[in-house]
Structures are given as C-alpha cells and as structure tokens.
Amino acid sequence: MPDGTSALHLVLTADPSLVSIVRLSLAVSLTAVVVAALIGLPLGALIALTKFRSREFVIVVLNALMGLPPVIVGLLVYLSLSRSGPLGSWGWLFTAKAMVIAQAILVLPILAALTRQTIEDLWVEYRDEFAAMNVGALGRIRALLWDARFSLITALLAGFGRAAAEVGAIIIVGGNIEGFTRTMTTAIALETSKGNLPLALGLGIVLIAILIIVSAAAWLARRAGERLAG
C-alpha cells in the first residue's frame, strides 16, 4: 500500500495493490466458506437426524467449537503444513491454500452447528410427512437442507463474516506476503504496525463496505428465492 495516501484515494483510483488485496480476501474467504459448507451442511443435517449414543456430547462440543480461537487454528495448521510437519511435502505453507484451509476449519463448526439447529427444528415439523412418504435418510437430508435454505443463507453469512474478519490464523499460515498472501485484514494489521493509522482505519471501512455488499447480495438472493418458491 502506498504510504501517505488515504484509503478513499486508493478506492477512487482503483489502486492495483488495493484491488489485488480485495480480490484475494474475497477469494480466500468465499472459498473457505464453500469448502466448509460442503462438509458442514450435510454433517449438521446428519447429526440433527441421526440418533447415536454420544449425540448430546457431540452437539455440546460442536457448539463450543464455534468459538475456536483463530490463533490456535493458525498454529496447528502452520505446524501441519510446515516442511518439518506431516503435510510439509504439499508445500502449501505461506500460500493462499493454507489460508483457505485455516479459515475453512474456523468456519466449519459454525456452519455445522447452525445447520444442526435449523434442521432439527424443521425435522420436528417434517418427521411425520417423511415417514408417511417413506423417504430414506439421504432423501430427508437433501429435502430438509433445501427447505431450510433461507435460514442456511444466514448461517453461511455468519461463516463468511467470521472468515472475512479474522487475521490471527491467516497471518501465521500465510505470512502476509505482499502480492501473494496479503488480505484486507493482514494489510490493516501491517499498516497499523507501521503507524499508518488513518490508512488502516480507511481500509477497515472498505472491508466493512464489502461485508455489507455481500450481505445485501445474500438478502437479494433470499428475496428472489422467496418470491419464486415461497
């Protein structure tokens, strides 16, 4: 980020370093949410619908993991991806891929726990109909996830918010390398430590604006969906 320029100036002139940072932030966080959703939504639905012995315990732990400290996740992923670690041969440390992994791990419990609650609430209503229609386990999961889609959009937004806002994990596993692993939040951290406080604040406002845009897009999608299919 060029020093001495305000964030507004960077936005208005579409400064290339700002654009690349925004693009990377969105790519990392959105990819992390997608990865976490592919695992977390079916997992949450499965827990909601299956009876098994330690179910209550699993739910308690899952809910607790929503507050997983990002620095711990960052450290664990760092140790795993380090060349001296078990997955070192992948060479993913200090790349965007490592950041996606760390954020996906942070977002997964949020998506799974919120999905579990949403599906469980819906299941109470739907149970008899599914039994009467003789719907199998897989069919139930798919139908409930689809019917719960509007509530799940909110869960996805919560997950995205968590990913887009965090800095502790990605600065450890990404290294905040300019042009490669520097995102909005890590850039803000850097400008703060350089004492460029107004620039840091300005970037923060840009980040919040992006969050609002994403939230608005989700709201529009929900509105359109409701109008089409109730």
Binding site: E125, D128, M133, W146, A229
Partner: protein, 237 residues
C-alpha cells in the same frame, strides 16, 4: 404391488408416559368401502389412524399388515390434518412425493400434471406451495398421498377446515378412489360426512372402540347406549 390389507389390530394399546391414548383395540381393516372413524375430540381417532399407518408403535398388542409384523409404508399413504408444504412450488411438491414413491424422473412431470388435474390444482402448479390457502393445501396433500398409488389411504379429518365447495370436491375424490379399489380409512367430526362416505363406521370414546358396524346399521339401529346418545347429539364425557 402387494397389498397391505388386511390390517389387523389385536388388543392394541398406546400409552404415552401415563396417558392412555388407546386401549384394547381390536379392529380389522379389509378391502372394500371406506371405514370412517367418529367420536368426540380426544377419543383416539388420530392415534388409531397413526398406529394403523405404522407411524406409531403400540405399547402393547399386535398389528399386522397382510400378515406381516413390519411393513414399509410403500402401499399406504397418509393425509395429515395439518399438512406440511415443502418450500417449493405445488408441482415440485408432487414431484417430490412421486420421487419418494420410486417413479422414474422421466415420468414424473406427466404424472404430476394428472394428479394436479384430479385435485383441481392444475392452475396453481407453479405457485409456491406455502402461498396456498387452507383448502388448496389439503388438496395438494391429498394429491401427494395419491402420488404413491396406494392401496390404503388414511386421512385425518380431511375436510375439517374447508368450505362446502372444497369439502365436496375432496369427498368426490375419495369416493372415486374408493371405487378404483383404494381402501379409504378416515376420521371425521362431521356425522353427515360420515353418512355420505362410510361403508363401515367405528365409534371411539376415551381410547376404546364403543361400536363398529356397517354404516346402514350404525345410523339406524346402533346397538350401544353411547352410540345412541352420540347420534342424538349428546356430548360424551
């Protein structure tokens, strides 16, 4: 497909915690004209329907479907008093039921159109199901139940909150299904409806069967005192 009939309940009781919902139920549901369950609120009509459908396991006693102790609900369908609309269009709701019944994807659309036409909802095919009125929801629920091509059709108060026109169209559908060979087993509040539809009547009170008889006999010469009082309009306490 192999039929679930006859459905035989023998000494069936249902207790939930200390609450007795049904006790000493002996009933056979066989092929033929509709069986209608009547009785005051809380008499166990809904519970009996659910047990016969297989949604509820009796606390004691025995129930068999065509001699089987356990039978997947492939050939029987249930229409709930307050049906749940899937969050999609009317047509998609039916297609979903067709899919669950094993109908191949290529045939679903046509069959859905037929079912929609039979319940008079073809004009609302693309409307979100949650936007339907009470009567329209009942009709969609019936279409979903019929999607299975069932041999036994259970209905829990199918016309309870419907206006006369909607009631008439549902009743006609049920009679038509019965004529096609579907065994209709339903509960109702409305004695007149029972008169219109029943082949056999079963009167329930406080969880037991007071009297079970062919409709003609039940309405003209009930054999129990309670049945007489019920037909006379007394509140059975």
């Amino acid at each position: 497909m192999p039929s679930d009939l006859p459905i035989c309940l023998s000494q069936v009781s249902v207790h939930i915690k200390h609450h007795v919902l049904l006790h000493g139920i002996n009933l056979d549901l066989t092929r033929g004209s509709p069986t209608v369950l009547v009785g005051p609120n809380g008499s166990g009509k809904t519970t009996l329907l659910r047990v016969a459908m297989g949604l509820l396991t009796p606390t004691s006693g025995r129930i068999t479907w065509n001699g089987q102790e356990i039978a997947e609900p492939v050939g029987r369908a249930f229409m709930f008093q307050r049906p749940v609309m899937l969050r999609r269009t009317v047509r998609a709701n039916i297609c979903y039921a067709l899919g669950a019944a094993g109908v191949p994807r290529s045939k679903r659309n046509d069959r859905a159109s037929e079912l929609l036409a039979s319940v008079g909802l073809e004009g609302l095919a693309d409307r979100p199901a949650r936007h339907l009125s009470g009567g329209e929801r009942q009709r969609l629920s019936l279409a979903r139940a019929l999607a299975k091509d069932p041999t036994v059709l259970f209905l829990d108060e199918p016309t309870a909150s419907l206006d006369p026109a909607a009631t008439q169209s549902i009743e006609q559908l049920l009679l038509a299904a019965s004529e096609r060979g579907v065994k209709v087993v339903m509960s109702t509040h409305d004695l007149h409806e029972a008169r219109r539809l029943a082949g056999d009547v079963v009167l329930l009170h406080r969880g037991t069967i007071i009297e079970a008889a062919p409709a003609a006999k039940f309405f003209t010469e009930p054999s129990t005192e309670l049945a007489r009082r019920f037909l006379a309009g007394d509140l059975l306490l």
